[in-house]
Symmetry: C2
């Protein structure tokens, strides 16, 4: 399948194109790797898009993971039945969480909690909406970002289990630090993590706490966690990036070659003044700026080296410069798709080389409207 | 004036606070440095906010500069009378430009053009809306991003002057490459640029072309260009960042110490598990990721070193960690405010320590609605 539009002349750039057939392929590939849709809990943060959630639902995925409350709300509105909010809820976010629990009664929510203090805070508020709330205790398995260290996790699990309206369901164990390019090294790392998690679930069991579920494995490691077995525990896999896929992940993890680029930036030549160089309308207000400057874009149809990038400009050095004219269109895979999507209010939907409507990036606002 | 909210307990984080008194101070400081409001043409890309445009209009600023067509449209809707679109318009952007010219009849627009080809393209379309259009020829004075090199500028100026509906008004000469921290070095650089520009205006004059205006000087150099005189030319200054101000600019340009931080991020502690560290809800989806990782945030009330940052998390190392609790609020000046603002749908307006409404970041969408 080709990424180029048959007629790009009407579409103002920079813009983000999305290819539903490729999204479907990527969801299917996740299902294949996981061994079935019921083992998946994909992360919505990559696309923040209701229409992609609907594709996931159509294809049999029943569980979802998110970071922001806007994402949680969008998932509920899309008809998701089981939403895990994998982010600590503190301060007024707890108020909004309660509003969401009360509003979306057809969706079961579950939250990550990593401290006794936060368990108590949230539990003490649940009476206001007369709800119970499932909890996965967030354990730090090496990322040192959020999560209680494994050796102190038992106390938090006990506090959750002892709380009035919280229900201890299991663990969230995100290994975002595990970005080793070689599959064998990721497998080694996951073996170490699994040993810790198994030991923790045994200690939980000895304390009378059943760990029904562990949510683990982002895009780089979910194929590895798909092979993990821990007695009496359901392993749920939460890939994110690969639903759209990007250059950073596909370049780093060559073993994951069944995913296609499902979201591609379209840009135009806006200046051509120097031999071997052109300037594009692809600044870091349109493509994620978190990869280092010079490594934010992958060009699909030309060889190019990124030069100066500002908010609305990208200068490239390319052997194609001589033949490129003002207004010519280029297609670019971002190095990091997740924050790139969040820079766009909508994605242009491409079917058979034609633009067929647009999908709003609905949850890019922090407060869902 | 203090930046802290009297009661931050209701505001969900991360969010962007804006302080109208400080915005007014910064506009006033621009006017003072420029020597009067009529010498200013501030760039709207920093804030993309109609309410700030209205403040500028109230304070006597009549000219505005923008990059995107959404910004141009927002300026017109705010009542701006004179809007310079400093970005090359190619392909379907020309269609949209025509729509805007036809729709906002109370606003005079002016565009940057840097090639004979583009002059011809745009001129040939203006008949459709029966409009004339002022042009500033964009000259490259060292940034090598857009703009015709000075030595080739005469041809473009002639083509504009010879076009049917284009009106040659002067030059756009943006020196974004001139980011030397020492004022004396920026002055040296501007002296060199001025020599080139003077020589060009003389050649233009000799060709019978009057260069009425040169728009030049972004935030770092507009105080220097404010002192420049070129015979028979009106020098218009186009600062951007300093209207809100940020850590990157205030740290780099110590001579510009009359500007206040007028937009500040509010964040909360969401995790506290390791001695000396806390994790904040301030990922690079809420603060601009274009500065290198580790240098994206300036903390106002604590000493802190940035560690791992992902989309929704920032780990910091801080001596304040022991006293900080889950949910505690911190205030952060972004290193780069312009792309930070574009990550937020709105700014919370702070007056006397209270939230008094919100200002939409109206032009963050590429197509203005």
């Amino acid at each position: 399948m080709h990424h180029k539009l048959n007629d790009p002349s009407e579409l103002i750039t920079p813009c983000l194109l999305v290819y539903p057939d490729r999204v479907r392929n990527n969801i299917q590939e996740c299902i294949r790797i996981a061994g079935g849709p019921d083992r998946l809990r994909p992360h919505v943060k990559t696309h923040k898009c209701r229409q992609i959630v609907e594709l996931e639902l159509e294809m049999g995925i029943t569980r979802h993971k998110c970071a922001t409350l806007a994402e949680a709300e969008m998932l509920a509105e899309a008809g998701a039945k089981d939403v895990f909010i994998a982010y600590p809820q503190v301060g007024p976010a707890i108020n909004r969480l309660l509003t969401i629990l009360a509003k979306y009664t057809k969706t079961e929510f579950c939250v990550a909690i990593e401290s006794v203090a936060n368990a108590t805070q949230i539990d003490s508020r649940l009476g206001e909406v007369r709800k119970n709330l499932d909890v996965l205790v967030d354990v730090d398995i090496g990322m040192h970002r959020t999560g209680v260290p494994v050796e102190r996790a038992l106390d938090v699990c006990r506090a959750v289990a002892a709380a009035k309206q919280l229900r201890f369901r299991g663990l969230h164990a995100y290994d975002g630090h595990n970005h080793l390019p070689k599959l064998v090294d990721r497998q080694d790392s996951v073996r170490g993590i699994t040993t810790h998690l198994s030991s923790l679930t045994e200690r939980l069991s000895a304390s009378g706490l059943e760990c029904a579920t562990i949510v683990c494995g982002g895009t780089p490691t979910f194929p590895v966690f798909a092979q993990v077995e821990i007695a009496d525990v359901s392993i749920e896999l939460s890939p994110g990036t690969c639903i759209l896929n990007d250059f950073g992940y596909s370049d780093a993890y060559r073993d994951m070659n069944g995913f296609e680029y499902a979201a591609i930036l379209m840009t135009r030549v806006v200046s051509k003044q120097h031999s071997g160089h052109v300037t594009l309308d692809l600044g870091h207000k349109a493509v994620a700026g978190d990869p280092p400057a010079g490594r934010r874009c992958h060009f699909l149809d030309i060889d190019a080296v990124e030069g100066k990038q500002n908010e609305e400009h990208l200068v490239i050095q390319t052997p194609a410069a001589e033949r490129l004219e003002l207004g010519d269109v280029l297609y670019v895979v971002p190095t990091h798709i997740c924050p790139t999507v969040a820079l766009h209010s909508e994605m242009q939907v491409v079917k058979s080389g034609q633009v067929a409507g647009s999908w709003p990036v609905a949850a890019r606002h922090r407060i869902y409207r």
